[in-house]
Symmetry: C2
Subunit: 330 residues, 2 copies
């Protein structure tokens, strides 16, 4: 049977979902239907503004992370399509409270281009803008355009948001974001491809004995296929290259993000988290903090990504700082 979704008109799914977010969290966020922005219910005063965004279909990213201690504005494009430069410009103006705006941009050609144009337009309005490009996906880092931006964006938004809340200036927040990116790597795999909302057809088919390795978050094929097998073996295939690329070893500490790509359910994510901890412990690497859940998705892809962020005490203080958004609160 073709896949079925709970949608109305597929062309209206994004504004309807953003309206639903606003109605569900009226004390935290508000929706600007003109530019499809989600903004803090109460704008921040005199702090560096944080804006992120991109194509939709990755929910709860980014709109679910707007609030105290994280983003000021999220800009939503259509499913898997960049928002326009004008949308981003509108969001940048809204995010500015006089100390400039940091753009957190996942490394995709359309997003990079449109955020860049928006930054130039904002400069004409005398808003200072800096940009952090997130390129954590290890599977695509050898490519010409560099690694795709995936779940490490959560770590960047969290710690830059905390630093901005604590009064850091734009250069400091941008520098921090770039350091987090340089210390973050992600790998992912899928048991099933996604289908666009309202479309019954998955983006690709997998043989029963294989999984797709190195998938991104736009429904694309991965970089290779590997045998389907026990969860522990599959998790090792993700964790081991991350450890090697980040050159992690005995005494190092990480934040581990075990992220569902859409329809992996909690039992499966807990199993993956367990194995991640064990595998790191075997190498003497400690997991200082964990984030386990579906945070950066690819619509209804059944799969997971694992992100390791090489952490230190300064990073952990910002990670632990209070955050209050629809989908991340502590």
């Amino acid at each position: 049977m073709n896949r079925r979704h709970l949608v109305n008109d597929p062309d209206h799914v994004i504004p309807e979902a953003l309206e639903g977010l606003e109605l569900s969290h009226p004390s935290l966020v508000r929706w600007d239907p003109g530019a499809n922005l989600i903004l803090r219910h109460s704008p921040a005063v005199h702090k560096v503004g944080l804006i992120s965004g991109g194509g939709s279909g990755h929910e709860p990213l980014h709109a679910g992370f707007v609030g105290t201690g994280m983003l000021d504005v999220a800009v939503a494009g259509a499913v898997f399509a960049s928002p326009t430069a004008l949308q981003i410009q509108t969001g940048t103006v809204a995010a500015d409270s006089g100390r400039g705006v940091l753009q957190v941009v996942k490394n995709y050609t359309g997003d990079v281009l449109n955020f860049q144009i928006a930054a130039e337009l904002a400069a004409e309005d005398h808003i200072e803008v800096q940009s952090v490009r997130v390129d954590d996906d290890l599977a695509t880092r050898p490519s010409l355009v560099g690694g795709r931006g995936t779940a490490a964006v959560i770590a960047v938004e969290k710690v830059c948001g905390a630093a901005a809340e604590l009064g850091a200036d734009l250069a400091q927040v941008a520098d921090l974001g770039r350091r987090v990116v340089s210390r973050s790597r992600t790998l992912s795999l899928a048991l099933e491809a996604c289908a666009h909302p309202g479309s019954g057809t998955p983006a690709f088919e997998l043989p029963a004995d294989l999984v797709e390795f190195g998938v991104g978050i736009h429904g694309e094929r991965g970089v290779s296929r590997m045998p389907y097998g026990p969860a522990d073996d599959l998790v090792d295939q993700l964790v081991d290259p991350l450890l090697a690329d980040l050159e992690l070893g005995s005494g190092d500490a990480v934040v581990a993000i075990v992220n569902g790509l859409g329809t992996l359910y909690p039992l499966e994510l807990s199993l993956a988290a367990r194995r991640t901890h064990h595998r790191l412990a075997d190498r003497g690497v400690s997991v200082a903090r964990s984030l386990v859940g579906s945070f950066v998705t690819s619509v209804d892809m059944k799969g997971l990504s694992i992100t390791l962020v090489h952490s230190d005490d300064a990073f952990l203080r910002l990670w632990d700082a209070p955050v209050r958004t629809p989908n991340l609160t502590w």
Copy 2:
């Protein structure tokens, strides 16, 4: 293709998942592998203890709600199978800090029986036990054994947990729980049945033009089938009977729990939340608080439940009280 899961040995999925939860949230919870309990990392002192549990496969329920302001102990059975009376007794002893223990029990024959036996065993240890039976599922309330316990259990655990934290005694907490149950109703539907972890075969098949109405959380068939259609129409079929049964009208307020049953993804849940708000507003009913996400699942069932809890100021004060657990924090 048959469905595939990220598991190791299906017989070990529950202890492995509970170990994963402990490793991911070491400051909040600990796992007792002997009785498959999840307990607070730091036991509460001199307050009414709260214990819940039941068959597994409903994650993050119940283990994900252990912590300050909610449960003291969660007891896990095998997938869709009640824990034993001895497991529950062990958990009850662990939950007691001298002021007695409240059992929150979803209305299923096995759970009701085993929690009852555990209460009798605990009485022999001079632990005072009271029980709240949750039977919110409107689709099955006309049956001989009464309605099944579904997502309203979250509301019961949240507000009873808050009251216990504030120093209420056992009779008060139990009375509060029973009042919440009496003011809560839930209805659910599914687009796809679930498959047991490690099994590739869904529990039932649906024709392409129908959805299953009145499903529970154990993979069972619903009470009827209805045409598949736009999200808004399907949501109305859930909301309208809840409004009627709770006799809600102009001026009333509710807490709305829009709950994914496993693999519904965030865009779909936001659409359902939006329509729920609109439908209630049309009747003059306000949504005082919303909880939108996958909290009480049926493994990888694709579907949703909507729970309305008729609320008042006293209820909302307890709902808003601080909570810090792996899967609910504010």
